[in-house]
Amino acid sequence: MAGFILRRLLLLLPMLLAASLIIFLLLRLGPSDPAMDYLRLSRVPPTPQALAEAQTMLGLDRPLAVQYLDWLWKAVRLDFGISYVTQRPVLPSLLHFLPATLQLAGVALVVTLGVSVPLGMWAARHPDRLPDHLVRLIAFIGVSMPNFWLGFLLVLLFSVHLGWLPAMGRGGWSHMVMPAIAISLMSLSINARLLRASMLEVAGQRHVTYARLRGLSERTVERSHVLRNALLPIVTATGMHVGELIGGTLIVESIFSWPGVGRYAISAILNRDYPVIQCFTLLMVTIFVLCNLAVDIAYAWADPRIRLSPEVAHD
């Protein structure tokens, strides 16, 4: 297992390196000139002389490869430059907002798993009966619901009409209920359907029939013979959902005035504050990749076929 984790960790480095190359190159090769944006955001009139000075200061007059290596070398030492707008170092500002985002996305992930597993099990226990149709309906609404609109609907019901939950800001658990539901509904809908299908598939296999023939109780069969095997696709899907949950959090934050990285990043994108955009993107990719690593490890832990076979592990 340790070898498996180590192999996977080593694979992360080239991935992150490639992502950093894309992030750096695309922004440099994009249609606009960082020096002009720097002058605009610093409110300096763009005279030819000021432009040339800004280019020298930002290092834009050097070859692209040198610029990239310089940026990368600084990034490795956690120096992502200073924001054009605030003139403050980028990484500390982003790290200031990051915990709020991670907290919300984490709670949304817990909600996704915590709700989808019982829902999927319930539907699988009564295929083509009322519970199954109900779960299908919920899932159908869930995958079509815009998360930001759902956020508004929840505010309308629970804050405006009932007055039960605070409509905005970050505080105790009550502040997290609505944003977490808005973010997780789509993923939990997909997961519930996936688990249902997966459980029904496993339930038709021979080892399950054999377990029943041995006289094991229905509960034991469901828990140890069906659910454990059926959860594997859910583990894989969770890796994908993490990306959706991160994206959802960035959008939903703005509805609930949640003080996360989303609003900071969006204002940086509006301003074309390049150092912030670069650092934000790399940070999100790193988190996403690490979450997927965790998912891979969970998968290998649950399914010995993965960790014992190097070919499959590299698939």
């Binding site: 960035l250 390049y274 955009i277 999100m284």
Partner: protein
């Protein structure tokens, strides 16, 4: 000959189950949305951008069926205009994604070797980004605005499609009908367009229909946070953003654009499900390479 080879695979659109009633509702809804979008300029009761401060924040009534917004603009007209923006941008983004996916994925599958390796590693890199983060980054590079949002969405989704097309091409590449065409002296491009592309189309149609709703949500959420369509233009995400300051006083304002978006996404999702059941019951996104 192609038809027979394909129907043996269950890929032919001519074979399959009949559509059920949910599918019929879905196709009717999709047709309705497309019709309203196309007829938009003629059926709008008012100019969607005409400001009339005397008539601001009117409740639904006989003149303004769904009421007016904070600038006195007719909400129904803006919803209809917004349908055009939403559907138009989704169609454009989807066309770009499909074109890039077919060209790049097809080339990788047909040519194979180093080229295939290079393309696959490139898609790997793009897939290490969560799609919304990648779209945000692309907007950071290209700048804000609807055109750039469409480009950003295409750039953040093409890799999935390229992989799927490549996978299908690889699975068919060594089949007899393809080998026979090569032996008959057809060029690789011609084999691709005549034999391989038609086989991928039915799967792509299903995927694209299922993804339209997803992309619609992307476009609207980017406009909602202010990166896409700029405010005077009517778009559902922008309308929701305009409505947010009135959640406490005029909640109906945010009901309409959200409902329009929700129903459209649902119609396309239902249609995608129906197409999948009919064209390719075995298609399972998790198992495509």
């Amino acid at each position: 000959m192609i038809e027979r080879a394909l129907s043996a695979d269950g890929l032919s659109p001519l074979h399959g189950r009949r559509f059920g009633w949910t599918a019929q509702i879905a196709f009717t809804l999709v047709a309705l949305i497309v019709a309203v979008t196309a007829a938009g300029p003629w059926i709008m009761p008012f100019d969607p951008d005409a400001v009339d401060l005397v008539q601001r924040l009117q409740p639904p009534g006989p003149v303004h069926w769904l009421g007016t917004d904070h600038l006195g603009r007719d909400i129904l007209s803006r919803l209809i205009a917004g349908a055009g923006v939403s559907l138009g941008s989704v169609a454009l983004a989807m066309a770009l994604i499909l074109a890039a996916g077919i060209a790049i994925g097809g080339a990788a599958g047909v040519l194979g070797g180093r080229f295939d390796q290079a393309i696959m590693r490139t898609t790997d890199i793009f897939l290490t980004f969560p799609t919304l983060v990648l779209a945000l980054f692309m907007i950071g590079m290209l700048g804000t605005g609807l055109t750039n949002v469409i480009l950003a969405i295409a750039l953040s989704h093409w890799a999935w499609y390229a992989r799927i097309v490549r996978g299908i091409v690889l699975s068919l590449k060594h089949r007899e009908f393809v080998l026979a065409s090569h032996l008959a002296g057809m060029s690789r491009l011609r084999v691709f367009t005549k034999h391989l592309l038609p086989a991928t189309l039915s799967q792509l149609l299903v995927l694209a229909t299922l993804d339209i709703g997803h992309i619609m949500l992307h476009v609207s959420s980017l406009s909602f946070v202010g990166l896409g369509v700029t405010p005077p233009t009517a778009e559902w995400g922008v309308m929701l953003n305009d409505a947010r300051q009135f959640v406490w006083t005029k909640p109906l304002l945010m009901l309409w654009p959200g409902l329009a978006l929700f129903l459209s996404v649902m119609a396309f999702n239902l249609a995608g499900d129906a197409l999948r059941d009919r064209l390719d019951p075995r298609l399972d996104l998790g198992h495509v390479h």
